[in-house]
Symmetry: C2
Subunit: 338 residues, 2 copies
């Protein structure tokens, strides 16, 4: 327990972050203040939202300061606790950042994990904010009905693969959009999509969606935006719902021109709603319980890609943003103290 | 009872319809078929949606055929009825079209009017589809709460003026967008908006909205789209709702480019929903009853502009589409037979 290995934002990227934008540092070993818990980081999360977090400009969170450890969700094990209700050995999900040790205020701790429920790594994925994201976007906003057609972007990814399975559980027909033939097969064979499209192999994505969704699209779960949204909008049915989960297909600040969509929204009486899972954290225990039930019953599947050491985190983020991962991307930092 | 004066679509306009696109004809006097009622037209409606109805291209209704009487809502008085439940003298709202006489099937009759409730002309305006449009857009979709800020387009118009008053009744602060200083004053002094902006007088509409809505905008009732929507989006609060009622600021087919909006929808968790009042006609009796209560209690006001003869209808439509009317635009065709 000497220093604190950290991955720090070394400079502010102007576009997609690169490995060289991050610096490996030895920070001070943190001390738990009067309203804090000292945790040892076990695993950290790598998320598409990080692209926005490191940039200047308006977002739903202030940008990560240059010189600070990268913001991230993580799993920590409590070593010293000055927080009522938390004691040494407890496993928690919180904003650990990309570092070995963190002193967390109560507001930075999202919840305690029950390690008997499922492998603890799932608390950052299918049984964590990833699961909550898919749940809110698909079940609260998308609300698929039996026999309806549901189109899901980044369908082999952590959120998309779960969103598709949740729609299947509702009896919907699911079609996935993904970025390689390998992932296309993964969508159909592993995650149970009824069909999947490798958008990189299509000259006319709207036409490819039309072929895969002959009855049109009733629910569109969109983590991409841009031309992908345009292609989906061309296939939406009257009364369709669009859950806007991300805009990874746009420049990070979202500034781009394209066809105006309000006439189509009007004519087809479309409802389009943006959401952030973090607005729904107060519901996560109930959602996780429900998802855990489906997971134990074998009704939903998930994939994880765990990089073995903290210094891999920037490369894992770049892989993710290039669409070269499959499943939830995590980085191992330390083992749980049994 | 010889012929049937009709205003027929003489040719298909390519942009905003002009008076010369319509032709005055003497059609055949209609005969009520076995499942029809013959009505004498009393009043017909002039609506922004007509711009879309006369064009080719995808819309929520097929285009009005060239050579047919212009499609419109109207008030008719039944002369001969082969429909159970309707008898001579009854006043009905239905798709009379711009013509003196019409044989209406049951599906073309929206409802019977109670002439004791209010002047019958209101059945095409504040106590008709116009009222239903404002009600659905503001109360079902916008859902303003006390103290919230509501921004309304075409605020001196039939739908906008009512939408603003419905928001005021919910305790919201209302700001109207309108196209002249005279209408701006009408919004504030007659319809009770807390503030109004003459958008034609503003170089920077987003900035003008910012000044008029210092706490941001929680509900945006949009009948315009395009640059007006962009200016409003720049001022929407987290969780804001946009009711997409029309796109009169776009070319008729809605085809235009502009800034992409999905990032803003995501970051501010905005919900944007298109609607057509005609989807909600099954609810109109209840809505009209509620609106009639407010009208009788003096809690809402409305304006009408009634052109005196049927042949005025094309010019009334052009006036409306140029924003030169105030209040609900109607055309008188005949007097009620007492």
């Amino acid at each position: 327990m000497s220093g604190n290995l950290q991955i720090v934002l070394g400079r502010r990227p102007t576009a997609r972050p690169a490995v060289r934008d991050f610096v490996v540092c030895e920070g001070d070993f943190p001390v738990a203040g009067p309203d804090e818990a000292l945790v040892r980081t076990i695993l950290v999360s790598v998320d598409p939202a990080m692209r926005g977090w490191v940039l200047d400009g308006p977002n739903y969170l202030p940008p990560v300061p240059v010189g600070s450890p990268m913001r991230s969700f993580g799993i920590g094990q409590v070593v010293v606790s000055n927080l009522p209700g938390f004691g040494p050995g407890d496993l928690v999900v919180g904003m650990t950042g990309w570092q070995e040790w963190a002193a967390l205020r109560r507001t930075e701790i999202q919840r305690r994990i029950d390690p008997g429920l499922a492998p603890v790594s799932t608390a950052l994925g299918v049984l964590g904010v990833t699961g909550l994201t898919a749940y809110v976007g698909m079940l609260d906003i998308g609300r698929p009905t039996p026999g309806s057609t549901v189109l899901v972007t980044t369908a082999a990814g952590a959120v998309g693969s779960l969103a598709g399975q949740l729609a299947s559980l509702q009896g919907a027909r699911t079609v996935g959009l993904t970025g390689s033939d390998e992932k296309r097969r993964l969508c159909v064979e592993h995650f149970g999509f009824d069909a999947a499209i490798d958008y990189r192999a299509e000259d006319d994505l709207a036409e490819a969606i039309r072929c895969a969704c002959p009855d049109g699209v009733d629910v569109f779960f969109d983590s991409v935006g841009g031309a992908t949204l345009d292609a989906a909008l061309a296939n939406l049915n009257v009364g369709a719902r669009v859950a806007v989960c991300g805009t990874i297909g746009l420049p990070p600040d979202g500034e781009a021109d394209g066809p105006r969509i309000e006439r189509r929204i009007l004519v087809n009486r479309i409802s389009m709603q943006g959401f952030l899972a973090t607005d729904h954290l107060h519901r996560i225990d109930g959602v996780v319980e429900e998802l855990a039930g489906w997971l134990r019953a074998g009704r939903i599947r998930h994939r994880e890609e765990i990089s073995p050491v903290l210094t891999d985190a920037p490369a894992a983020l770049v892989r993710l943003l290039e669409g070269r991962n499959t499943g939830k991307s995590l980085v191992r930092v330390a083992d749980i103290d049994p």
